[in-house]
Amino acid sequence: MQQSAVDAVIRGLKRAGVSIVCYLPDSLFKELYPALDADPDIRTIQVTNEGEGAAICGGVFLSGKRAALVMENSGLRASVEPLARMGLGAGIPVVMLMSYRGDMGENNWWAVPHGVTMEPVLQALRIPYVVEREEERIEQAIFDAYELAYSSYYHTAVALSGSIVR
């Protein structure tokens, strides 16, 4: 991930008012995590699985602060249970930023399931999402994800792929 893309993600999060980020580190976003850790305006919380991160983000929503769940798209599968209960059961939103493993160009066999399952899982949970492959669209995509999450009180997701993460 290029530094300019890392900067764009952080600009988007700040423009959306995010002050807490929960993450489980992955390889495609590996440059993003230390940059988030180092940012004085953002508190990072490393979690043990993405479902735990989703639930923490839900609690942050209830505090009036804004949170982001940052992860590889495989983490979406680990988050399905809390996302379904919080989103469909109570209207507690979580905004997710995911690296898109398994997209066209993937060269790891183990990442193929992530590409196969990501969009169907998002659609099963009725989560609006965008897949961004151009760096210049990152900031606005993140900002827009918060606008919709805070008018629908439901989850939204941004997946980053293509030249952004390779």
Binding site: I20, R43, I45, Q46, V47, T48, N49, G51, E52, G53, A55, I56, C57, G58, G59, V60, F61, L62, S63, G64, K65, A67, E81, P82, R85, M86, G89, A90, G91, I92, S151, Y153
Partner: protein, 202 residues
């Protein structure tokens, strides 16, 4: 030790705290044991989410005391949160684990704590939550509530309670969505903030 009696002891110590609690019969018990805390309590139906949500709330409101009323089944569903608490060390989070050694809400099949070999407080200490204890009597539980609410470290008390439900208590009628609105409006009013504000146009 009965859970409802423990709840009555804890409720007597609470006024402006915020509570997140687990699913099942403990919901209706808390609704009755702490009527003054109803709007300050988030009633959810989320196995494995309770303490993580409470921690998120504690991270977002660092000056407010947050209480998680979790369960043995709920904590076993996501033990990883203990490691996160051990590293993050929130100063304003008190966790009660109602350990009745069973999945009570579905009729009472045993959890892993029923064997006597699984010690949730010891797991928590091993994860870095140094203030993690087991209470077996009402006096022990009440003493841990006093200490836990005053602690500047995360504090967990595993309350070994009977698998009984307080009889003839009033049922809560609202669902998770209504409960969320009640809770959010309470947080907004008491913190002087807006969480769910107006749209651009009405």
């Amino acid at each position: 030790m009965k859970r409802f009696e423990c709840m009555t002891k804890l409720a007597a110590r609470l006024s402006d705290e915020l509570v997140v609690l687990s699913l099942g019969a403990s919901v209706d018990e808390w609704y009755n044991a702490a009527p003054h805390m109803r709007s300050a309590s988030l009633f959810q139906q989320q196995l494995g989410c309770v303490t993580p949500q409470a921690f998120g709330l504690a991270a977002g409101l660092p000056e407010r005391q947050i209480i998680s009323l979790d369960t043995d089944g709920g904590l076993l569903f996501n033990l990883g949160i203990l490691a996160t608490l051990g590293n993050e060390k929130p100063k304003n989070l008190f966790v009660v684990v109602w350990d009745n050694e069973m999945y009570q809400s579905i009729g009472g099949p045993k959890t892993h704590t029923a064997s006597g070999t699984v010690d949730l407080a010891a797991i928590a200490r091993g994860a870095g939550v140094t203030h993690a204890y087991t209470a077996r009597t009402l006096d022990e539980f009440d003493a841990h509530c006093e200490a836990g609410l005053a602690s500047d470290d995360p504090y967990i008390v595993v309350a070994k309670v009977a698998g009984t439900v307080q009889p003839e208590i009033k049922r809560k009628h609202s669902d998770g969505r209504e409960d969320k609105y009640i809770f959010v409006r309470h947080v907004e009013a008491t913190e002087g903030i807006t969480i769910m504000g107006p749209s651009e146009h009405n």
